[in-house]
C-alpha cells in the first residue's frame, strides 16, 4: 500500500527495500539486513521496510512517490568478496543500467515503470555487499552473515541523517 497509515503526502515517505533470493545462500543478504533492521529498531510511520525477494512489478505500488529509497542487495562491482559498498548520486543510473546485481530482472523494470508513471523516488541509495556464494542453500556464508550488522548500521545512518527518528529496540537485540 502506498499510504498504509493514511498519512497524506506531507510526510517524507521512505522505504528500505531488501532484495535477493533467500534460498541462494549469500543472495539473501539484502532480505536478512531488512529483517535485522526490523528487529533492532522501531521505525517511524513514514518509513516502510520491505522484503522484496526477487519480485518486480508487484512493488510499484509501494515504491511510488517516495522521498527516499534505500535498496540493500548483493552486488557485483568487481571488488573483493565481503566488501560492503554504497552507491549513490550519478552512479545510481549506471548501477541499474549495467545490472550489476544478479537478480535485477525485476528492479530496473520497476524503476523504468516508475519513471513512466512520473512517480520515481526523489533519492535512491544502494547499499550492497559482494557475495562469496550464490549456491543453493538457506544459510549465508559466515563472512557475509558478519556484514549484516554493518549494512544495518549504514541504513540507519542514511535514515537518521535525513531526519527520520528511529527508536532502538534494545530488548530484542539479544
Amino acid at each position: 500500500m502506498a499510504d498504509p497509515f493514511h498519512l497524506g503526502s506531507h510526510f517524507m515517505r521512505a522505504v528500505v527495500l531488501g532484495i535477493g533470493n533467500t534460498i541462494l545462500t549469500d543472495e539473501a543478504a539484502g532480505v536478512r539486513a531488512v529483517e535485522a533492521l526490523e528487529l533492532a529498531f522501531k521505525m517511524p510511520a513514514e518509513v516502510q521496510l520491505i522484503d522484496g525477494g526477487t519480485s518486480g512489478m508487484e512493488m510499484i505500488e509501494d515504491l511510488s512517490n517516495l522521498d527516499f529509497l534505500i535498496v540493500i542487495d548483493v552486488v557485483k562491482t568487481g571488488a573483493a568478496a565481503g566488501t560492503v559498498v554504497k552507491i549513490a548520486g550519478d552512479q545510481i543510473p549506471v548501477f541499474f543500467r549495467s545490472k550489476l546485481s544478479p537478480h535485477q530482472i525485476g528492479l530496473p523494470d520497476v524503476l523504468a515503470s516508475l519513471e513512466l508513471l512520473d512517480t520515481m523516488p526523489k533519492e535512491i541509495v544502494v547499499l550492497g555487499v559482494e557475495p562469496i556464494s550464490l549456491e543453493l542453500g538457506m544459510e549465508m556464508t559466515p563472512a557475509i552473515a558478519e556484514t549484516i550488522p554493518q549494512l544495518v548500521e549504514m541504513a540507519v545512518a542514511e535514515l537518521v541523517s535525513r531526519g527520520y527518528a528511529l527508536e532502538p529496540l534494545t530488548a530484542q537485540v539479544a
Binding site: 500500500m1 519480485s55 557485483k76 544478479p102 523504468a112 515503470s113 513512466l116 543453493l136
Partner: protein
C-alpha cells in the same frame, strides 16, 4: 545449408532461457529450448517440516510467489487427506484470481506488447484520430482526445530526453512491425494505463495475503486471516468493500481495453494466427474450489489430445486418479541423471545434476521433460480456454465468442476457433481467461461475504501428521498453466518433493522419445525476416509467457547481463 541462431538470454522474461534455431530457406527447421539455470529447491526441502514448505517454495521465483505457496499447502493437505474451511478456500481463491489478473495484464502490456507495437511509430500518430479510433473500438473512458494528446506529449518528452530505453529491447522499425501510427499510439496509451491498473490487483493480494510480494497468510489447513465484522485489526467488511471497488475497476479495464487490444493485434497481424501452433495436446487442471474437499470447481480442467475438443478427458477433483497417474518426467535431454533409464513419476522423482555442456542430440537443458501418459502437452491459458470450451463452460464460451467476433469484424473476414492454435491465439486465450477470472473474482468476493453473513468465521483446520509415510499432490491452474507439487512425507518430515511447473511443460527439451517440447515445436516453419533481429522467435516464445526461474534455478550471475544474438 542451414544457419544457426542462438538467442541467449531471451529478454523481458523472468529467468534465463536460451533458444537456438536452425534456419533454412528463411524459415525455422529445427529448434532447441534450453533452461540455463538449475533449480534445486527440492533438495533444500528434504527433511524439513511440511508446514514450512510453502514459505520456502514461494521464494523459487519472483513472479510466481503466491502460486507456489498455494500449491504447496494443497500438496501437504492432500497427503493428510484434509478438508479446509470454506472461508479459507474463498480467500485463497481471491488471492489466486487477483494474482492471475495482475499477471495477465503485466504480461501482455509490459512483457510482450512491444513485440507488436512500435513506440517510435506512435510519435507520428495524430492524437485526435487515435482517440476517434479508440472510441470506435470500446467505451473505455480514457480513449479521449485529451488523453491521447497527453500521452503523445509524454512520449515526445521521453524520446527527446533520450529515455526511449525505458521501453527496453523493442525492435523499433523492424519490417515485421505493421501497426499504423494511430494504433501504436493507442497501444502506448494503454501500456501506461495498464501500469496504473495493475496496482489495483496487487492491492487485493496485499490486503488478503497480509503482505506483498510474499504473502504471509497461507497455512497448511487454511489461512491465517482472522475474520470479523467489528475489529480493525483483521479482514473487516470495510476492507472487503475496498476490494470490491478494485475488482470493478479491473473488470472495466480487462473487458474494455485488454480484450479489445488483443483482438486488434490479432486482426492487424492475421498471418500470426497461422504461426506458432506446435503441440496441440492441451492439459489444464480444474481450479477455484467451491467446497471444503476440492471436488467442485468454478473452472474445469482436463486433457485434450491432438486439438480434438470432442475427445476431452476431464480432471475432476484434487484426488483425480487420471491426473495423478498420468504425469512423468524424463531427463534423457536434461542435465540430470536418474538411477535407471526411462521417465519417472514425480513421487519417485530424483534431482541429481549432471552438466555436460550443450549437445544438440543429447543433453542441453536444466529443465526436465514432463509428459502426460507419455505425451508432450501444452499448458497455459490456451489449454485452459480450450478445456473450458470443450466442457461447455459458460463464461469462457461467452468471452471466446466475443473475442473471435471482434477480430472478425476488425479483420473484415471470418476468424474461427482454428485461429486459436497459434501465437496470437495464446495471447487471445490469456485475455479471454483474464475476463473469466475477473468475473470469478467478483463471484468469490460475494461467496465469502455471504458465508461470513451466515456466521461462519472459520479459516483454519489444524493439520495432524501420522506416523509412517504419506504422499500427496497439490495442483493449481496458475497464470502460465498447470502447476503441481508432489510431496512424500515420512514421520512428519519431507522425504521427497518435486515441483512440476508450467514453464517446464512448455519450455522442456526433447523427451524420452526424442519428441520436441511445445516451445520447440511452435517455432518450426516460422518465417525469419532478419536473422540478426529474430523478432519472430521472440513473438512466439513470449506468447507462452516464459517464467524460467521456477522451471530451473540460478547459477550464472555476471554473464546473464548481456544479450547476445549470434547468427553463425
Amino acid at each position: 545449408m542451414s544457419q544457426r541462431i542462438t538467442i541467449d538470454p531471451i529478454t523481458r522474461i523472468e529467468g534465463h532461457l536460451r533458444i537456438d534455431v536452425d534456419i533454412d530457406g528463411g524459415k525455422v527447421n529445427k529448434a532447441w529450448s534450453s533452461g540455463q539455470m538449475w533449480r534445486g529447491v527440492e533438495l533444500i526441502l528434504l527433511g524439513r517440516d511440511p508446514r514450512d514448505a510453502w514459505a520456502i517454495t514461494q521464494r523459487i521465483c519472483g513472479v510466481c510467489t503466491t502460486v507456489h505457496a498455494i500449491t504447496s499447502v494443497r500438496a501437504v493437505e492432500n497427503a493428510l487427506k484434509m478438508e479446509i474451511p470454506l472461508n479459507a478456500q474463498y480467500i485463497r481463491n481471491l488471492i489466486i484470481l487477483a494474482h492471475s489478473v495482475h499477471d495477465s495484464i503485466v504480461h501482455f502490456y509490459h512483457l510482450s506488447a512491444l513485440d507488436w507495437v512500435d513506440v517510435t511509430s506512435a510519435l507520428k500518430a495524430d492524437p485526435d484520430k487515435t482517440a476517434i479510433l479508440g472510441e470506435s473500438l470500446s467505451s473505455w473512458h480514457l480513449n479521449s482526445k485529451h488523453e491521447m494528446r497527453r500521452v503523445h506529449e509524454r512520449l515526445k518528452h521521453f524520446v527527446n530526453g533520450g529515455q526511449l530505453g525505458i521501453f527496453t529491447n523493442g525492435y523499433w522499425g523492424h519490417p515485421a512491425m505493421k501497426l499504423s501510427p494511430e494504433v501504436n499510439l493507442l497501444a502506448v496509451a494503454h501500456y501506461l494505463q495498464a501500469l496504473e491498473v495493475q496496482r489495483k490487483a496487487n492491492k487485493i493480494v496485499s490486503i488478503l495475503g497480509s503482505k506483498t510480494p510474499h504473502i504471509q497468510n497461507v497455512a497448511v489447513g487454511g489461512v491465517a486471516n482472522p475474520l470479523a465484522t467489528d475489529s480493525q485489526a483483521v479482514l473487516t467488511v470495510e476492507r472487503l468493500m475496498a476490494i470490491k471497488g478494485w475488482i470493478d475497476e479491473l473488470a472495466d479495464f480487462v473487458k474494455n481495453v485488454y480484450l479489445i487490444d488483443v483482438a486488434a493485434v490479432g486482426a492487424f497481424y492475421p498471418e500470426w494466427t497461422a504461426i506458432g501452433k506446435g503441440i496441440t495436446n492441451y492439459l489444464s487442471v480444474p481450479d477455484i474450489p467451491l467446497d471444503t474437499k476440492g471436488t467442485q470447481f468454478a473452472f474445469p480442467g482436463g486433457f485434450i489430445e491432438g486439438g480434438d475438443l470432442a475427445k476431452r478427458k476431464p480432471i475432476t477433483s484434487f484426488n483425480d486418479e487420471y491426473w495423478i497417474k498420468g504425469v512423468e518426467e524424463s531427463v534423457k535431454h536434461s542435465w540430470y541423471n536418474y538411477d535407471k533409464a526411462g521417465a519417472l513419476h514425480p513421487y519417485k522423482g530424483e534431482t541429481t545434476p549432471n552438466y555436460t555442456h550443450f549437445k544438440d542430440d543429447a543433453k542441453y537443458s536444466w529443465m526436465k521433460s514432463p509428459t502426460f501418459y507419455g505425451k508432450v502437452a501444452q499448458v497455459g491459458p490456451l489449454a485452459r480456454v480450450l478445456n473450458g470450451l470443450a466442457a461447455g463452460h459458460e463464461a469462457t464460451t461467452q468471452y471466446a465468442t466475443a473475442t473471435l467476433d471482434t477480430v472478425s469484424a476488425l479483420a473484415k473476414t471470418k476468424i474461427g476457433l482454428d485461429a486459436m492454435h497459434s501465437t496470437i491465439g495464446r495471447h487471445a486465450a490469456r485475455a479471454i481467461s483474464c475476463c473469466v477470472n475477473v468475473d470469478l473474482l467478483a463471484d468469490q468476493w460475494t461467496a465469502l461475504l455471504t458465508n461470513m453473513g451466515k456466521g461462519d468465521l472459520a479459516t483454519f483446520n489444524k493439520p495432524v501428521f501420522p506416523k509412517g509415510e504419506v504422499m500427496g499432490v497439490g495442483f493449481h491452474e496458475a497464470p502460465r498453466g498447470a502447476l503441481s507439487h508432489w510431496v512424500v512425507i515420512d514421520n512428519g518430515k519431507i522425504k521427497n518433493y518435486q515441483c512440476v511447473v508450467p514453464s517446464t511443460w512448455n519450455a522442456c527439451p526433447r523427451n524420452e522419445k526424442d519428441e520436441p517440447g511445445p516451445y520447440e515445436a511452435s517455432l518450426l516453419n516460422t518465417p525469419i525476416a532478419d536473422p540478426e533481429k529474430p523478432l519472430e522467435v521472440l513473438r512466439t516464445i513470449h506468447s507462452f509467457d516464459p517464467c524460467i526461474a521456477c522451471a530451473i534455478h540460478l547459477t550464472d550471475t555476471v554473464s546473464g547481463t548481456a544479450i547476445s544474438v549470434k547468427a553463425v
